[in-house]
């Protein structure tokens, strides 16, 4: 347990990520471009053809989904940076240090989730486009939920990255993991009225519960009980972290 909560190691990994992120402005540009594209083009464009779902205009329906999308991208990009660390040797510096593999994974997941939450919160800037007024305090309530979504995503990203040998793999990951998790989460269309096959995929996708929780936080309306959603996200965190720790503990 002492090794698992190696505070110095966690702090180092977290601080390092913050410094690196603050020196890299391109990620911020990306996390602003995505909501513009999706919310403006899809939300306003498609939204003008649709009345919306239930009592929510389409743009409002889409809004939490776009936050989830930034969380997905932010988490996975942060996780994938461990491949750069491997290619540029810095991972070795961490692997030969007297710290446990689990503290590397926890530190990376926490810092990746922090960066992702920041990117997710940039979407708040587009709130005036939504057409529904959301009380300010609800945004603060959204932050811990966003962290709970981003943490397991980063851990999952680390787990997958541990098996990847090059950065090009991110394209594959985006196509086969990020995009399906996004589209099958009820972020773009409600799963309840979807064909049964899609509904089933949506039910096993942990992102579904994250998006649903966010929608609940913003508009007070969710499709699943909040307790179930929280439980699933905690379970997802435990499984993804355990997977990533075991992947990084393997010595060939």
């Amino acid at each position: 347990m002492k090794e698992l909560f190696d505070f110095q190691a966690l702090r180092m990994i977290w601080l390092r990520e913050m410094i690196r992120t603050s020196r890299d402005r391109t990620q911020i540009a990306g996390s602003l471009a995505r909501p513009i594209l999706w919310l403006v083009v899809l939300g306003l464009g498609l939204g003008s053809a649709f009345p919306g779902f239930g009592r929510l205009p389409y743009t409002a329906f889409l809004f939490p989904g776009i936050i989830a999308m930034n969380l997905l991208y932010g988490s996975f990009l942060s996780a994938i940076s461990i491949i750069w660390d491997r290619e540029f040797g810095f991972l070795k510096e961490m692997l030969v240090a007297p710290i446990s593999r689990s503290s590397i994974v926890l530190g990376k997941s926490a810092s990746g989730a922090t960066v992702a939450c920041f990117q997710g919160s940039l979407v708040f800037l587009f709130l005036p486009l939504v057409g529904v007024s959301v009380p300010f305090w609800r945004l603060f309530l959204a932050l811990p939920v966003m962290f709970l979504i981003a943490f397991p995503l980063t851990a999952l990203g680390l787990w997958l990255a541990s098996r990847m040998t090059s950065f090009e793999g991110f394209g594959t990951l985006a196509n086969f993991v990020v995009m399906p998790m996004f589209f099958m989460s009820g972020a773009v269309f409600p799963l309840q009225s979807a064909p049964p096959a899609l509904q089933w995929i949506g039910k096993v996708n942990p992102m579904t519960y994250g998006v649903d929780l966010l929608r609940g936080v913003f508009y007070g309306a969710h499709a699943h009980p909040a307790l179930l959603s929280f439980s699933i996200l905690f379970l997802f965190s435990a499984v993804a972290t355990a997977g990533a720790v075991s992947a990084f503990s393997r010595r060939s």
Partner: protein
């Protein structure tokens, strides 16, 4: 006092390839030990086993009295490593690289700061401490890595070709630093090198090829016993004149990929 490094019947296989083949030797505390061999002889593999990055197929390895397989964290506490390939975070400053190193070696803040200043002055990078490592020349990066490897005062310092690709000035400086350290501390140095001139300055050398130990002893003794003119002759005598196709290090392969990525970015 246990030997600084002890390796007994060490074997490491990668699939059908045997990289280290029944290797046994010991390095005494305080020694400057040269680990020699042509490319692909198994030097880096052995170092990776010793610093707990790889596990042996069979046999045992221990560092500072701790078993590399059973007690990896204790081994890691006792060692410092200067890898063959660079391992700095080039987006961080020299200061930040050392600060983070001290944190993961659990050095309390006051000790950390004191050692950071000592080692930065030692390698003459104190004035450049707030520059991002990316802006450093190859020699400066190497010096920073040396500073980092020394910062937590390891019992055993592994140096995998520390002077490769450096200009004579930096090479000279690194040797001067090592001599200085050896004079007032009980650090054990375990280094690989292709320079026979450097190897002759070691207390003892091991010559390795195809994962097997071919010669072990003081450079002068080896030269005398083989009735050779110098260590280079001994080296060529035991390892032959055939050229080797050592594998490109992972780093070189992946660097190419990263460059390709950058072109797209």
């Amino acid at each position: 006092m246990p030997p600084a490094v002890e390796v007994s019947h060490l074997v490491k296989k990668f699939g059908a390839v045997t990289a280290v083949d029944d290797l046994s030797f010991a390095v005494e505390a305080g020694e400057l030990f040269g680990f020699l061999g042509p490319n692909g002889a198994g030097k880096s593999t052995t170092i990776h086993i010793l610093c707990t990055l790889l596990s042996p197929t069979s046999g045992t390895a221990s560092v500072a009295g701790f078993d590399c397989l059973k007690d990896p964290v204790e081994v890691r506490k006792s060692i410092g490593i200067i890898f063959q390939d660079p391992s700095l975070d080039e987006r961080l400053t020299a200061w930040e690289n050392l600060e983070f190193h001290g944190m993961i070696y659990h050095m309390p803040k006051s000790l950390r700061r004191r050692r950071m200043e000592e080692v930065l002055r030692f390698v003459e990078l104190w004035e450049r401490r707030h520059s991002v490592a990316r802006t450093f020349s190859g020699g400066m990066k190497r010096r920073l890595e040396v500073a980092r490897g020394l910062m937590h005062q390891p019992k055993v310092l592994f140096l995998d070709e520390p002077t490769i690709g450096l200009d004579p000035q930096t090479r000279h400086k690194i040797w001067a630093l090592m001599s200085e350290l050896r004079a007032d501390q009980k650090t054990t140095f375990f280094m690989t090198t292709h320079s026979m001139e450097e190897a002759e300055r070691c207390d003892r050398v091991a010559i390795l090829d195809h994962g097997k130990l071919l010669a072990l002893g003081r450079p002068a003794d080896l030269v005398r016993e083989a009735q050779a003119k110098n260590l280079e002759q001994v080296f060529l005598g035991v390892t032959g004149h055939d050229l080797r196709d050592g594998d490109a290090s992972d780093q070189e392969i992946s660097r190419g990929r990263v460059r390709k990525m950058r072109a797209w970015a």
